[in-house]
Each structure stands twice: as C-alpha cells, then as structure tokens.
Subunit: 196 residues, 2 copies
C-alpha cells in the first residue's frame, strides 16, 4: 500500500537491528485518514472471500480492525484481551498462550466464547507481524471456536523475522500492506512494490 | 443518544450493584455501526468548539476515539498507554497515576511528549465514566503538556458514581451519551432523555 509505505519512509525509523518505530502514526498517535485507507486496502485484498467478523488483539490492532470492519460494511470486531495470567473464567473463554519476543515474556490472549460463534469466517487483523506469535494465538482461538481463518491482514510485516513465512507455510493467506526488509543505520528498508 | 440507550436496554445487563456489562457491543465485541454513530454524536456535541486532537486511553477507549476523530474530519488520535509501573523514559513522557476501583490497583498512564504539542485543544473520549480516575489522569496529562481540555466525551456514565459530578464541578464540559442511574436485579436503569 503506497500511502503506508510513504508514511513509513517519511516518518518511521529503526532502532538497533529490529525495532520498527512507527508510533507517530500507527500505534500510539493514530493517523486516522491513513488508517481509514488501510481498512479499505484490507477490504480490497480480502473482499473476494467470505468474512463474517474481524478479530484482533488489544491494544494496537484495534484501530486497523475497526477501519477494516467499516470498509466491509460494518462487520463486528472482537478484540482479544491480553493478560499475564491464565483466565479464572474457565469454560467461558477461548484462550491462547503468546510469547512476546519484544518483552521476553508470556501472555495469554482470550476472548469470551459468546462472541465467537462456530463456523464463522474470521479475518485476523494486526498492526505488526514479526515472529507471528500474536497471529498464531488468534488463529488458535479461531480453531478452538470451530471457526475458520478467512485470512490474516497485517499493516507492517517485518520480513526479516520468521512469522510471515511460517504462517504462509501453514497455509494461511497472509496479506501485508508493507514489508520492512531490514534496518540500516536507523533507516527502514522497504520491500519493492509494483505500486512504487 | 437514543441508539446507544437502546443497545444498552436490549443487550446490556448489570452484575451486582455496580458492574455495567456492555462488552457485547462496546468494549470486547464492537458494534461498528453503533460506534460510528457514537463518533458522530460526539461531533454533534463538541462540533461548536475548537478540537485539534482526540485523546483516550487503551484499550477500550480507542474505538470511540477513532470514530469521533473520523466525524471531526480525521483528527489525530493519541491513546495513552497503561502500565503497572512508572516510566523509565523519564523526561520523554507525560504520565499520570490512575487508581482503578474496578481492579483495586494503581496504574500509570502515559503518552510520548512528542505527540502532544503545547496549546492544543484536546477532546478526551472514553467508553466509561465511573469514579473519573481515567478522565482526571488524561486531563492531568493535557495540563502537563500546556494544552487545553476542549471537553470530555463519555459513551456511558455511571450516574450513581461520583466521577461525572466531580469533573463538572471542576469546570470541564462533560457530555455522556447515556447515563446508567442504577442496577436493579441485573437490569440497567437509564436516565430519561428527551429523545426517548
């Protein structure tokens, strides 16, 4: 997505070898015009397949999930909640364990069973894809519910980390709107695109 | 806001004396058509005043903040991050302490200084107003930045808790789209409105 790649080029920067800093428009301060167009881009990418609802994880996936739901004509969004501890709600929630390479810790993500029916076609949306832990956890929750992953839409994929390859090898349809291939002296390197 | 009050009446319920359960449309599963209209309602309420950006706190304030920003013609949104510990970033962040009556614990909310300029007119948006701690924390951050609170927009105010009164006494313009006045046998009581 050209507009997103331009925002990454103009505003984003890298820290060290693997931190992609884009919180001036994507996940702390939100550029709403850009995010609205990100939603439209995900609709363009997945509009040919059945999508009944959007699933993401708090907090930074929520923005793109909402604008995607709007682009699909106001589908429901469910955002999984994160916690350092396993749920005490037992049978009422679907839950998956997610390791964070950024924070070197383990989280549980969960959603209330009531809100994810069986046999739904669920589009997973997130802001970042690095090692793929969050997306794998969300896909695991969809499986627990007896539903189907319609696709995985990612704003920015870190192409130099293994999550994207792993998810594609598992057969998921993964669409990333921009792919950062590396960081050189604080500058983000982007994958070429026919749009550029 | 009639549509929100109807959603509360039809789908919401109360637990015990003070838990308002609306996570089937407002803060776990999101009803995007309703949230888009909530944004329009905040624009109607605050459209007569200068608003340069929307401020909220993760995670459940983000949805209404985004749709409000859209209704204002794509203003930027900043969402404060929550943490159990004070920041190690020192001078780079504005930070406020927020006590949670729900979880009986203390959180810090913070935003990067870069993203909140001086002399901005900031509209605070949140999903709930109960004791007012989150809104007070956000207003404190706006003050630290040398900016102005243009208003405080709340989806659901718990009228039987003191936050709304306290904020209004402090001179803030607080607009709540629905007010729950109490819970009786699991049923949410709503304040009367001319719209009903």
């Amino acid at each position: 997505m050209k507009e997103l790649r331009e925002a990454i080029r103009k505003q984003g920067f890298g820290i060290g070898e693997d931190i992609v800093k884009v919180d001036m428009f994507l996940n702390h301060r939100l550029d709403i015009a850009l995010l609205t167009n990100i939603g439209k881009a995900f609709h363009e990418a997945f509009g040919d397949t059945q999508v009944d609802m959007i699933l993401t994880v708090e907090a930074s996936g929520i923005a793109a999930a909402i604008t995607t739901a709007q682009a699909f004509g106001n589908l429901p969004v469910i955002f999984a909640k994160k916690s350092h501890t396993t749920s005490t709600l037992g049978g009422d929630v679907y839950e998956a364990k997610v390791y964070s390479f950024t924070h070197h810790d383990e989280n549980f993500i969960r959603i209330a069973k009531n809100y994810l029916p069986k046999d739904a076609h669920v589009l997973i949306i997130d802001d970042f894809l690095a090692n793929g832990e969050a997306a794998e956890g969300l896909a695991e929750i969809v499986r627990q519910a007896g539903s189907h992953v319609a696709g995985i839409g990612i704003c920015i994929e870190k192409g130099f980390q293994p999550g994207g390859q792993r998810l594609r090898n598992e057969g998921y349809r993964v669409v990333s709107l921009a792919t950062v291939t590396g960081i050189e002296n604080g500058k983000l390197q982007l994958a070429e695109s026919a749009e550029d």
